[in-house]
Amino acid sequence: MEPAPGATHPDDLRLAQAALDGDPAARADFAQRMRCVPRILAAMNRRRNGLLTPQDIEDLSQDTLVTIWRRLHTYEGRAALETWAYRFCSFQLSNRLQLLRNRPVHHEVEPHDAVEETIHACEEFEGVQRILDRLEPEIADLIRLKLYEQWSFEELAERFGASSNTLKARYYRGLTRLGTLLEPGREEVER
C-alpha cells in the first residue's frame, strides 16, 4: 500500500508495514535495522557512566524490542526507524533506572546523581516528543526534520513545496507553540 502523504520516510513505513504483514524479506530487513536497539541502549548507557550492567542492557534490549514490535502498527513514517526506536530506548532506559532508584539496596552503590540526571534527560526528551505529537502534524514534521534529522530549510522547502521563508515562519511559529506547551504557565499569560 502507499504510505500516508505525511510520511517523511515512506521507505521505512513500507518496510514496517510489510514486516507487520508477514513478508519474510521485510521481517529480515526489519530485524537487521533493529540491531540498532541494543547498540543505542549500550551507547546511552556508556555515555551516562555505565549505570547498567551488560546483562541489564541485554534484558532491556529484549524488553524494548518487545515494545517496539507491539507498537510498530503506530509507526507513521514521520522519522527514520532508528530515530523512532530511539524514543522507545529512552523511555525504557528511564523506566529501568527509576526501578533501580526505587530499590533501597541500590541506593548506596548506584551513582545517584548520574541516575537522576539520566532520568531527567530521558523524561525531557519524552516530554518534547509528546508535545510534538500534539502539534499540527506538518509543523511537528518540520521541527523533527529540522532538529532531529538536521535538514536545511532548502531541503525542507523541496519536501514541503513551499519557500524557505514560509517554512521558517511556520517552524518558528511551531517553536512558539511548543515553548508554551513546555511551560504550561506561559500559555495562560499569553492568552
Binding site: 504483514d21 533493529m34 551507547a43 542492557i57 534490549s61 518487545v66 529501568r96 534527560a121 518558528y172 515553548g179
Partner: protein
C-alpha cells in the same frame, strides 16, 4: 511578544530562539547516542535481535494466550503487502517464515521455537528476581504507562500522554472482574506521575487484573484500561 499567527517574516523572536536552543540541546544528546551506536562494533544482546523478533512475530500469529494488550492485530493499512510476496497478509502478522525439510531450516525453526519460549516466559512468568512480584508492560499499556514492575519496593509512575491534568484510579482483582469479582486493592486518586505500589497486604498468587480509570481533574471520565498481570 510578537503575535505568531500574523507574522509574515522568518526572523525568530528571542523566545523562539530560546526554545530552539533547548531543543537543539536535547537533539544533540540523541545525535550523539545514535552516532555512538552506529560506531559501536557490537552490543550486549545484539546477536539475539533476530531471535527475539522471530519469537515475537511467531507469537503474534500463533500463541492463543497472547497478552491482552499485545499484538498489532488491527494493523494500519494491512490490506496489501509487497507485490512479490507469496502469501496473503490480509489479516495481520503471522509466523510467516516458510518451513522446509533442509537441515539449516530445521535448525532455524528450533532456534525460533527456543526464542518463542524465552519471550513467552519473559512475558508471562515470574522470574527469579525476588523484587519482581508483578510484571506489567510499559509502553504497550497504551493509555497509561507504568514503570515496568510493581512490588513492595518499587512503585508505578502513572502517566497519561494526552494531558498533565488527569487523575488515575487503580483497582486490583484476583479474579476476572467481568465475573463480578470484588477488588482486592484500590488506590487513592492519583495524579499524573504519582507513584503507587501494590499493597503488601495483597497476598494472592497467580494472575491478577488491574483496572485503571483516567479522569480529568473534575472527575469526568476520559479513558480506562484493563491489564492482566502476574503476581507471585
Amino acid at each position: 511578544m510578537t503575535a505568531a499567527h500574523d507574522r509574515d517574516d522568518a526572523t525568530p523572536t528571542p523566545e523562539e530562539e530560546a526554545v530552539e536552543r533547548r531543543l537543539r540541546h536535547i537533539a544533540e544528546h540523541m545525535h550523539a547516542d545514535l552516532a555512538d551506536a552506529e560506531r559501536m562494533e557490537s552490543a550486549p544482546g545484539e546477536d539475539k535481535v533476530e531471535a527475539v523478533l522471530e519469537g515475537l512475530w511467531g507469537a503474534a500469529g500463533e500463541a492463543s494466550d497472547a497478552p491482552p494488550t499485545a499484538g498489532p492485530t488491527g494493523v494500519v493499512g494491512g490490506e496489501q503487502g509487497s507485490a512479490t510476496r507469496a502469501e496473503s497478509a490480509a489479516d495481520g502478522p503471522r509466523g510467516a517464515e516458510p518451513s522446509g525439510p533442509t537441515s539449516p531450516r530445521r535448525m532455524w525453526v528450533a532456534l525460533v521455537a527456543a526464542a518463542l519460549v524465552i519471550v513467552i516466559a519473559k512475558l508471562f512468568l515470574p522470574d527469579d528476581d525476588p523484587d519482581r512480584d508483578l510484571m506489567l508492560g510499559s509502553d504497550e499499556f497504551g493509555i497509561v504507562a507504568p514503570v515496568g514492575v510493581v512490588d513492595t519496593y518499587s512503585e508505578v509512575v502513572w502517566t497519561h500522554p494526552s494531558a498533565e491534568d488527569v487523575s488515575f484510579q487503580v483497582e486490583v482483582y484476583d479474579r476476572d472482574p467481568t465475573s463480578g469479582a470484588t477488588s482486592i486493592a484500590t488506590s487513592e486518586t492519583l495524579t499524573n506521575r504519582d507513584r503507587w505500589a501494590l499493597p503488601p497486604t495483597v497476598e494472592s498468587e497467580g494472575r491478577i487484573w488491574i483496572d485503571v480509570t483516567v479522569s480529568d481533574l473534575d472527575g469526568r471520565f476520559l479513558d480506562s484500561k484493563r491489564v492482566e498481570a502476574w503476581r507471585r
